[in-house]
């Protein structure tokens, strides 16, 4: 355990040595997987504790819903619309409930939902690692890389080390901004460059292309989802 944190700590500061070490280990895939799961589990626990703390310092969503709904109904425009349109109240209540429920699922923590982080964080990290590793390996090989599939997964597992910053999720409401994203991208660049022994320009391209592919896939999925949502609302 301690050894995993030491290697992740050194990888965090973009030193080539830990990436070489993992690339040349006997079982790079398994070593990477172990490291990834340890870090993701630690972050998952931090998120769970932070979520429970957030629940403890938040009022009940039902109380908040009631206050907001009453405030809206006290406004002049609501009275005018309510008087002019038949069934305005019931339609408003239905739509308000739908919107508020959607927002409160993101905004308000629950103890059960927080504890789920212990499982969802490692699973998500694992899926991202497997997906990104696959694309990163393909592009690195296209650009002349020499690492095996297992070695790519080993070194890209180290690139998860900036996720350690998410341990700050212990404190409710902490926002990390760009930091984890840009740091992870930097680690992936070093991982591809050190793991595949390619020049910086090729390593950079091989690092950025998986983001482009994933971004395009997400845009398409988002577009389809939005179209389905709009169709559902309009019908």
């Amino acid at each position: 355990m301690k050894e995993s944190f030491v290697i992740a700590w050194n990888a965090l500061f973009l030193k080539a040595a830990p990436y070489h070490q993992l690339r040349d280990s006997e079982k790079p895939f398994l070593d990477g997987l172990k490291l990834l799961l340890i870090i993701a589990a630690a972050v998952g626990i931090a998120r769970a504790v932070g979520g429970i703390l957030n629940w403890g310092i938040s009022p009940s969503p039902d109380d908040v819903r009631e206050i907001i709904q009453e405030t809206i109904k006290e406004q002049g425009w609501y009275a005018e619309s309510s008087g002019a349109v038949e069934d305005y109240d019931s339609v408003f209540n239905e739509q308000f409930d739908m919107i508020f429920t959607g927002i409160s699922m993101i905004t308000f923590s629950t103890v059960g939902g927080s504890l789920l982080n212990v499982i969802t964080t490692p699973v998500t990290a694992l899926l991202v690692w497997l997906g990104w590793g696959l694309l990163g390996h393909l592009f690195a090989r296209i650009f002349g890389g020499d690492a095996s599939f297992k070695q790519t997964y080993g070194v890209t597992a180290l690139a998860i080390s900036p996720m350690l910053i998410n341990l700050t999720a212990l404190i409710p409401g902490v926002q990390v901004g760009w930091l984890v994203f840009i740091w992870t991208m930097s680690c992936r660049y070093v991982a591809i460059k050190s793991g595949h022994h390619i020049k910086w320009g090729r390593a950079l391209t091989a690092t950025l292309l998986p983001y482009v592919v994933i971004g395009l896939l997400m845009a398409v999925a988002g577009g389809v989802g939005m179209a389905v949502f709009i169709q559902g609302v309009s019908s």
Binding site: F13, I57, P59, S60, P172, G173, G177
Partner: protein
């Protein structure tokens, strides 16, 4: 500790050896980031403790005061400095104020809602959260900008790698230690301005040394990411405008 203080002092006085020795150090990025964090923590601790000092009595009152300040000038609060350039008819302004008034009571009602933990824990955790977020977001902005400057510097013939670039540009934070005095009226903001300019000079020096670029190319590498950002915003706005017009 002495080594770190010497590095910070020499970087502040723009000694070339300090930058080159630091760039060649095995732990260049770790040292840079720890200096960044140490200064950010020092600067942030005073406002954090002042938040804690006012923990219990003032939070609800402070929120109520914010709401009342908003209601007294909703247009100015919403638009900020841009309010000076926007002319809103008095009847529209009055309408906005009338619609906002019920929300003042709402904030008071929110503040009186019960929650599982005592309210002072909420205030302490929120202050800690704001404090941590400010530092992490600041680090994120610095890192993103440094990576973009590195790309443009490479394009202009720079020789740095990502580790040395991040490690040395982090030294721009050193003069920002002056921001611990930010609470002093008039003097505080002036010191903050001096720290920002001083930090910028250190940044130029750091980029120039690790990339082995002349000052002109260094400044160009630092300006290009900003220009690229502006162009991107303009293009996106034009695109949205075109799509809106088409729709």
């Amino acid at each position: 500790m002495n080594e770190w203080l010497k590095l910070a002092r020499d970087a502040a006085f723009l000694k070339t050896d300090a930058f080159t020795d630091h760039a060649e150090h095995e732990d260049v990025m770790k040292r840079g980031i720890l200096i960044f964090l140490a200064i950010a923590l020092l600067v942030g601790l005073i406002p954090l403790f002042s938040d804690f000092a006012g923990v219990i009595p003032s939070i609800a009152a402070a929120r109520q005061a914010q709401v009342e300040a908003f209601l007294s000038d909703p247009i100015g609060s919403l638009l900020g400095p841009a309010a000076a350039f926007v002319e809103i008819p008095p009847d529209v302004q009055q309408g906005i104020i009338e619609n906002m008034k019920p929300w003042a009571d709402t904030v008071a009602r929110f503040n009186s809602l019960l929650m599982p933990f005592p309210r002072f824990i909420k205030v302490i955790l929120e202050s800690l959260g704001d404090f941590t977020s400010t530092i992490l977001k600041g680090m994120g902005s610095w890192m993103l900008y440094a990576v973009l400057v590195l790309l443009f510097a490479k394009w202009l013939g720079g020789k740095a790698n990502i580790q040395t670039m991040l490690g040395t540009t982090a030294l721009f934070m050193v003069p920002h230690i002056l921001n611990v005095l930010a609470f002093i009226p008039i003097m505080g903001p002036l010191l903050g301005l001096a720290a920002a300019i001083w930090g910028l000079v250190i940044y130029v020096k750091a980029v120039s040394i690790v990339n082995e670029l002349p000052t002109g190319k260094t400044i160009l590498a630092m300006i290009l990411p900003i220009l690229a950002g502006i162009v991107l915003v303009i293009v996106l706005n034009l695109l949205i405008a075109a799509l809106s017009a088409a729709g």
